[in-house]
């Protein structure tokens, strides 16, 4: 967290590559000492859904011709099992088992960072273009626009949460990769790629399914759809001006319509990919109870909050306390909570689909039954994409201290409860609640900063 902020300040390209390589090397060094760090067993890092140790168990079960879901150990996708499973068993030259899987994580992290960078570049270019179109070119003279794509990529690579997740022997880096892939595909408006990323990400961890809205908006409107009102305002002011107005009119025409073609294409491809994934899963599961068994053991496990072992979320404690006959009711309440927020946010932030994706991911990581720090790593990187827009964000220092404090306090409280026996579950749950609160403050503050920024631009447009 701390380090990541340091990176915000970097500017030049060679420096970017130097720090990228450094982060990769740092990871490679860390994966040689997994026993000392013992991260794979930390509840903050690996959840029942993402743990690779569970995946290895599931793979072992399939090797002995049993259903991978027998014994309620593994809850991930069968595809992941057949891709990563062999890697958990393979040993190269006396190296420990985890090495290959960890290497996959490192590579996933690297690709992820590169995709973030490409997305960020696209976003920043459109942002600058729009500003110029709106006649706010002067803004570049008085203030500089930082290369937010580099910042975001470095934030992702050097965020301690990402590093811990990468070294911590779990599948979160791969899941994050597909989420980013779908956003990237949507940003460059390649519908098949976006559909592929979206389908796989939803298949792996279910919650990215709600990203369908930002993806559609991205495909339809382009990465940064400035509200039409602004251009109208701009046009009205400069009706009489000759050349500039015409340029803007051209721009306006270009922007006007929500292009349905890529969206339809996206749906077609999404259908194809879904079918493909389902067929593959069906083939895998044909001896173990078919697709229904898979749905019950993966999505069912996530949605009904079966595993109540402590994690950094808030649901485990709640469902450990709640009476059995209220359980279904509260399950519905908590999941509808996420769904309720989708529509209002989509309406308010429809002109900034990528930012909308950040908000969705942050809300999901708050209300997920099995959250891990890897989710935070993802949304923090997405947040850093908007470093220029969020320059005036309030409480940044407070939030920073909060994240640092909570991420240090949480293991201590866990130790106090589990190993020392002098604390109790409330100690640990308190840090989980504090973490959720900080996430809420982060979302609220960043959204309000973003809206303030838009308001400021509108004012400037009105003034010129």
């Amino acid at each position: 967290m701390k380090e990541e902020k340091q990176q915000n300040i970097s500017t030049k390209k060679p420096r970017f590559w130097r720090w990228t390589v450094a982060s990769i090397i740092f990871r490679l060094i860390l994966i040689y000492f997994p026993k000392n760090l013992n991260l794979a067993t930390r509840p903050e890092v690996s959840t029942p859904v993402t743990s690779l140790r569970r995946l290895a168990e599931g793979y072992w079960l399939t090797q002995s011709l049993m259903s991978p879901y027998a014994g309620s150990m593994y809850h991930g996708s069968p595809l992941l099992l057949s891709v990563l499973g062999p890697l958990t068993m393979k040993k190269i030259e006396e190296q420990p088992f985890h090495l290959l899987c960890s290497l996959v994580s490192v590579i996933a992290d690297f690709i992820c960072a590169m995709l973030i960078r490409a997305t960020g570049l696209k976003l920043r270019m459109t942002y600058c273009e729009r500003l110029k179109l709106l006649g706010l070119g002067k803004l570049f003279e008085v203030s500089e626009i930082l290369p937010s794509e580099d910042i975001a990529a470095l934030v992702y690579l050097w965020n301690p949460f990402t590093i811990v997740t990468c070294v911590g022997f779990n599948t979160t880096p791969v899941e994050n990769l597909f989420i980013i892939l779908s956003l990237y595909g949507a940003c460059i408006r390649v519908a098949p790629l976006a559909a592929f990323g979206w389908v796989i990400a939803s298949h792996l961890s279910l919650y990215p399914a709600i990203l369908i809205i930002p993806v559609i908006l991205l495909l339809g409107n382009g990465p940064d759809a400035t509200p039409r009102k602004l251009f109208l305002m701009c046009k009205k002011d400069e009706d009489d001006s000759s050349s500039k107005g015409r340029v803007e009119q051209n721009g306006l025409k270009e922007l006007k319509s929500f292009s349905w073609k890529p969206v339809v294409l996206f749906f077609v491809w999404a259908f194809i990919w879904t079918l493909y994934v389902l067929v593959l899963c069906g083939i895998f599961m044909r001896n173990y109870g078919g697709l229904s068994e898979m749905f019950r053991r993966t999505y069912g496990f996530i949605l009904t909050v079966k595993d109540l072992s402590p994690n950094i979320g808030v649901l485990w404690y709640f469902f450990a306390e709640v009476f059995e006959f209220f359980r279904n009711f509260f399950l519905i309440v908590f999941h509808v909570n996420i769904l309720f927020m989708i529509l209002p946010l989509a309406i308010r932030l429809k002109h900034r689909p990528c930012f909308l994706a950040f908000v969705y991911m942050a809300i999901c990581s708050m209300l997920k039954p099995y959250p891990s720090v890897g989710d935070s790593a993802l949304y923090l990187a997405l947040l850093a994409l908007f470093f220029n827009e969020l320059a005036e964000m309030q409480f940044s220092f407070f939030l920073f201290c909060g994240y640092v404090g909570v991420s240090l306090l949480s293991p201590v409280m866990h130790n106090l409860w589990i190993w020392r026996g002098t604390g109790n579950a409330n100690f640990y749950f308190a840090t989980g609640m504090a973490y959720a609160c900080f996430q809420i403050v982060l979302v609220v503050e960043s959204v309000s900063a973003m809206l303030n920024h838009d308001r400021k631009i509108r004012k400037l447009v009105a003034a010129t």
Partner: protein
């Protein structure tokens, strides 16, 4: 924090925000008041201490009359005589004494096995705190020839299911057994001989006669580690166990024997009482590693039985040098008077405390705080706490020891009945100890300060930190926005478009400095590990190497990381950077102290006493020099003195000088102290290196800041 920025924009913010703004704007007064109140509340703790009570009803101490008979005692006496005479007559075999003990246990009908272990070198493992104790299994090299051999005896409970156990530990030196050790073995033997016959036993009894020739702690630790790490498959096990008894070849149990989970453990010791006490004294030691304490109920039971049952005088450790200090006496008198006044106002206000009581209480409290803060266990009971077992050391200090030959039975009877009573109480437990407190400080054996009370002084001490940080932060951002406004007016050309200023991210620069220094703290923490790899170096050399390496690594880090990033738009306010830097420093000091208070409260309390004034006072000396007023000179002087005093080595020598005098202090002592901290895996060491030292460096940085 940043509410202050839009203070002018919003005419009437909500009351809670207004309260926050009020506190932030008066942060100086508030912090002075809070700190003074914190120190005062700390001194008030002995007055606020409550009497202990036995919280778990199932314990029922003293409800049964002791069953230990003279028969058991006379048998134990014979055993003690054998142990003492054994020591003198045969030096030929090193295993002889263990064999004697084992033989006696078998004769009583208990099971025996030997546990052979190697003295393990304490290794520094900085992550030990966050991991389970079971991970400490280290591959040792078995070249060392001097094994220690523990003798472990078991009684299987007739009424139990074998899932729980109570442990008795008697450390003794198998090479040269002293009378006290022989007597402690005798006490355990008498209990053992009683317990093999009783019918009420519901938990197994384990008697660990720990071979302390390599230290008491190491012996108990080795056995406990083996006990809690069952090895499957059986490769490499022979090292730890001896299948047949070494001298006679008689067949013993093949396996490492176990009973269930441990409900409690008692370490029994007998020492020669040199004091002129008319009664025998029972010293209680309870502090385990990192300031953990056993459940208060265990201490209560022992205390209750010792005082009411056996007429012993129970004592806990005191800091002797505090007992005759004049300021404590006058403070005690003040509190006594206050208590009297309060009682005259309302007879129900009963918090008066006599001067002697206050001084005793404070001395005990200070020792309790000190031992917890060091994080080094005060005896072999400390190991048990790492496995969540409540344990306590009972040291019976008797002046009759010198001439015990005349009347040994009395001591054996007294000690034996006490232990019997405790075992009987613990035997009644249905669950593990959980009713009473785990977090407390003792002010006397029967008075304690619970966590709810002792957190108050700490909270008061730490409260100014976030407030001052917020006020400095708001101050800095206000000044920045003022500056920007000025700039905007000087460049009227660009005034129509306000620039994107990274106003709220300006702290990043200060955070970078703070991060580098804290990162350096981590480097400093790890350096002794590498220094200790160099064999046979003097403490002084090590200390100097450590300091030199640390200083150079700070410089290197500064060069590598410090120059890496600068945000161009953030450079133009260099003069006022120090307020932001101080704000970030204070915020991190606060975070560090709060986390430490959860890990080891006593360390955090002592650390806060030093860190809070130092951090709050720091201010560039040049500013004070420019001001040239008496106040600023005073402040600068205070700053220099505080920073000098709280440099960790200086603090250590001052502390030592205050406690024992500096007459025979050597410079290398500090290294020895640090080494002892990290070999015991004390979190205090990590605190000093990763919180205190970086904050000290940052304060020095603030002091010499060019303005």
């Amino acid at each position: 924090m940043a509410e202050a920025e839009d203070e002018s924009a919003k005419p009437k913010p909500r009351p809670i925000i207004r309260l926050g703004l009020f506190l932030i704007s008066h942060s100086f007064v508030v912090s002075v008041v809070c700190c003074a109140a914190g120190v005062f509340a700390l001194l008030l703790l002995p007055v606020l201490a409550k009497n202990t009570y036995i919280s778990e009803n199932a314990l029922m101490p003293g409800s049964a009359s002791p069953m230990l008979s003279n028969d058991d005692v006379s048998r134990a006496r014979a055993f003690v005589n054998k142990v003492v005479s054994f020591d003198t007559k045969s030096d030929s075999s090193s295993i002889g004494l263990q064999e004697l003990v084992a033989q006696h246990i078998t004769d009583l009908g208990g099971e025996v096995n030997f546990h052979r272990f190697l003295p393990q070198v304490n290794k520094f493992n900085p992550l030990h705190f966050f991991s389970s104790p079971d991970q400490g299994i280290v591959q040792e090299n078995y070249s060392c020839s001097s094994y220690g051999i523990n003798t472990v005896g078991f009684i299987r409970a007739p009424n139990g299911d074998g899932k729980e156990a109570i442990v008795l530990v008697t450390p003794y030196n198998s090479v040269k057994t002293s009378t006290g050790e022989a007597l402690s073995l005798g006490i355990a033997y008498s209990i053992f001989s009683l317990l093999t016959r009783v019918t009420w036993l519901a938990k197994d009894i384990i008697w660990l006669a720990a071979d302390s020739q390599h230290g008491e702690y190491a012996a108990v630790a080795a056995w406990l580690r083996e006990y809690h790490t069952p090895s499957f498959g059986g490769s490499g096990r022979g090292v730890f166990e001896s299948n047949a008894s070494p001298t006679t070849g008689e067949k013993r149990h093949n396996d490492f024997l176990r009973a269930g989970t441990m409900a409690a453990a008692l370490v029994i010791k007998v020492t020669d009482g040199s004091e002129k006490a008319e009664r025998d004294v029972l010293n209680l030691y309870a502090e385990a590693s990192n300031g953990q304490m056993p459940n208060l109920d265990l201490i209560n039971v022992v205390n209750y039985l010792a005082v009411n049952g056996q007429g012993l005088r129970v004592k806990v450790e005191k800091l002797g040098s505090l007992l005759d200090s004049w300021w404590l006496r006058s403070l005690g008198e003040l509190f006594q008077k206050l208590g009297k006044v309060a009682r005259s106002l309302n007879p129900q206000w009963n918090f008066g405390i006599s001067v002697a009581e206050y001084i005793e209480g404070t001395a005990t409290l200070a020792s309790s705080l000190y031992n917890q803060a060091l994080g080094v266990p005060t005896g072999p009971h400390g190991v048990f706490r790492d496995y969540q077992v409540d344990a306590i050391t009972m040291e019976i200090s008797s002046k009759r020891l010198a001439n015990y030959k005349n009347r040994p039975s009395e001591l054996l009877l007294q000690g034996g009945r006490l232990v019997e009573g405790v075992i009987r109480s613990v035997n009644n437990l249905l669950e593990k100890f959980h009713q009473s407190f785990f977090l407390y400080l003792l002010t006397s054996p029967n008075r304690f300060v619970s966590v709810g009370v002792y957190m108050i002084p700490f909270a008061l001490l730490v409260a100014p930190l976030p407030m001052v940080a917020a006020s400095l932060f708001a101050d800095a951002s206000r000044r920045n926005s003022g500056m920007e406004n000025k700039e905007v007016t000087t460049f009227p050309a660009s005034s129509d478009i306000p620039a994107i200023t990274f106003g709220s991210w300006r702290w990043l620069h200060a955070a970078k400095t703070v991060f580098i220094v804290h990162f350096w703290g981590a480097v400093v923490t790890l350096l002794p590990h590498f220094l200790s790899l160099v064999p046979d170096s003097a403490p002084l050399t090590n200390l100097i190497t450590w300091i030199v390496l640390s200083a150079s690594s700070l410089l290197i880090l500064q060069v590598i990381l410090g120059s890496s990033f600068t945000l161009p738009s953030m450079t133009h306010t260099r003069g006022m950077e120090w307020t932001l830097l101080k704000s970030v420093t204070i915020a991190f000091a606060c975070t560090g102290l709060c986390i430490m208070s959860v890990i080891n409260f006593a360390t955090a309390e002592m650390g806060a006493l030093m860190l809070v004034p130092m951090c709050l006072m720091s201010r560039p000396l040049r500013l004070d020099a420019k001001a040239k007023t008496l106040k600023s000179f005073l402040r600068a002087g205070c700053n220099v003195v505080l920073t000098f005093m709280f440099f960790p080595p200086v603090t250590y020598y001052l502390w030592k000088g205050a406690l024992v005098g500096l007459d025979n202090a050597r410079i290398g002592d500090f290294w020895n102290w640090v080494e002892s901290l990290w070999t015991w895996n004390s979190a205090t060491y990590i605190y000093v290196c990763m919180v205190h030292l970086p904050c000290w460096v940052l304060c020095v940085h603030t002091l010499v800041y060019p303005c």
